[in-house]
């Protein structure tokens, strides 16, 4: 893992450096014109968030049933990234909505559920921070339930009438929009991978250090 880190970091940095140029070169959307360009960062940040939810859910299940500390560290890293990318989505969304719908926030299904998912994983981090001993298992349960709720968020947009565009909007984009959109998505997912690698590395080094301290206290070193 460590071997790939530097080239991966360089590639991500290069992609994020080129992303504004790619977005600037993309064609204008017919009704929203310039405002629509926030789409190239808004949607990829939600993609990264869902990637985080998938990782967090899977890692929580593994930790809860197999008690592997590595899975727990992966779940925490994923939860922190969910909150981060969710926050990016929740900031870019209202910015777009203010110009496109005229209001910062709409209480419709998609927005409400996105906010809820963000709250679930903030609660996850709160449990870890203040839950006391045994909170890692507790947090794993929150991760599993949060993951279980997330598909409802994804389909909620189709069952509740909403001002938010449907998920099926992506294949109907104009030809020139695909390139920048997939480019930005790849950049966000790369960034996600990179950050999760860094965070799990940090957590495992912390765990190692704690073990050494304990060993020293026991007089073994």
């Amino acid at each position: 893992m460590k071997k790939f880190f530097v080239p991966l970091a360089a590639l991500t940095a290069a992609m994020f450096a080129y992303a504004p140029i790619a977005i600037a070169n993309a064609p204008y959307e017919s009704t929203m014109l310039l405002i629509q360009k926030i789409f190239y960062f808004h949607v990829p940040s939600w993609m990264a968030m869902y990637a985080g939810i998938a990782v967090c859910g899977a890692a929580s299940v593994v930790y809860l049933f197999k008690s592997r500390p590595a899975a727990d560290r992966l779940a925490v890293a994923a939860a922190e990234l969910i909150v981060l990318f969710g926050a990016i989505g929740l900031v870019t969304g209202p910015l777009w909505g203010r110009k496109a719908w005229g209001v910062w926030w709409q209480w419709d299904a998609r927005l409400t559920m996105a906010l809820l998912l963000e709250l679930v994983f903030i609660a996850y981090l709160l449990v870890r921070a203040y839950g006391g001993p045994g909170s890692d298992k507790l947090a794993a349960a929150v991760g599993i339930f949060g993951t279980a709720v997330s598909p409802f968020v994804y389909v909620s947009v189709n069952i509740w009438r909403t001002v938010h565009p449907l998920n099926t909007v992506v294949p109907t984009l104009r030809a020139g929009m695909f390139g920048p959109f997939w480019f930005c998505s790849a950049a966000f997912l790369l960034l996600f991978t990179l950050l999760i690698m860094m965070r799990t590395q940090l957590a495992s080094e912390q765990a190692m250090l704690d073990e050494l301290y304990l060993a020293e206290d026991d007089g073994m070193v």
Partner: protein, 225 residues
């Protein structure tokens, strides 16, 4: 064996509760208090906004349910009886089902009080449309209580359990409350919008299946120390 254990846990909770009616009476009183607080907040010129009955019913249920969950498990912790329960040679999911049934009975009694009270105070046609309201309430309560029982049980060990229960429970169960409120307010519209109510009822059923399955599945590893 499974069902018998669950019913035994339920009977134990009943036997304790019936001696003092402590949890039942405090929960009922708290639910009435919630209704009054929201009535004061929402009523203008003697009239409540049209959709408020559904909202107040579910919010009162959510709040008093959280209180009841905390109290029920506080009693187990205080008497150190949870350890005895977990040591018993019985399937762990059966213990969960027993506690869940107890919470459901308690919330059911709360609803028996809340529904006529809200129907009376907000002149909402809740009692006339009981045929669809009943399944909505049953499914919503099961969805909320399934997650609530699991989280309250595992929070027993945590130092900050009082504040952690609502923090964890609300974001996860709010989808259930949304479905309940939407379904009930569609039902209370004139004329009642039955297809919408049935759609929300289906969603509630999906939540119930997911939440109960997950809770039964995770209860055992969560309660193992």
């Amino acid at each position: 064996m499974f069902l018998r254990t669950a019913l035994l846990v339920l009977r134990k909770d009943f036997a304790i509760e019936i001696k003092s009616y402590e949890i039942l009476s405090t929960t009922l009183f708290f639910a009435v208090g919630c209704v009054l607080v929201f009535a004061f907040a929402l009523v203008k010129e003697g009239q409540a906004p049209p959709d408020s009955a559904a909202a107040i019913l579910w919010i009162a249920l959510l709040f008093s349910g959280t209180l009841a969950l905390g109290r029920t498990f506080e009693r187990e912790r205080y008497g150190e009886t949870i350890r005895a329960l977990l040591l018993a040679p019985a399937p762990r999911p059966a213990l969960y089902v027993g506690k869940l049934l107890g919470i459901l009975c308690l919330l059911g009694l709360t609803e028996v009080l809340l529904v006529p009270l809200i129907a009376l105070l907000f002149s909402a046609p809740l009692l006339e449309r009981l045929a669809l309201l009943l399944p909505l309430l049953v499914c919503g309560t099961i969805g909320f209580a399934a997650v609530g029982t699991l989280f309250a049980a595992m929070l027993m060990r945590a130092r900050t359990r009082d504040v952690m229960l609502p923090i964890l429970l609300y974001p996860i169960t709010i989808p259930v409350i949304i479905a309940g409120v939407r379904g009930t307010s569609a039902l209370l519209a004139t004329p009642p919008d039955q297809p919408t109510t049935i759609m929300w009822l289906t969603i509630l059923l999906c939540f119930d299946v997911v939440f109960v399955t997950l809770s039964l599945w995770t209860f055992e590893p969560l309660m193992t120390e």
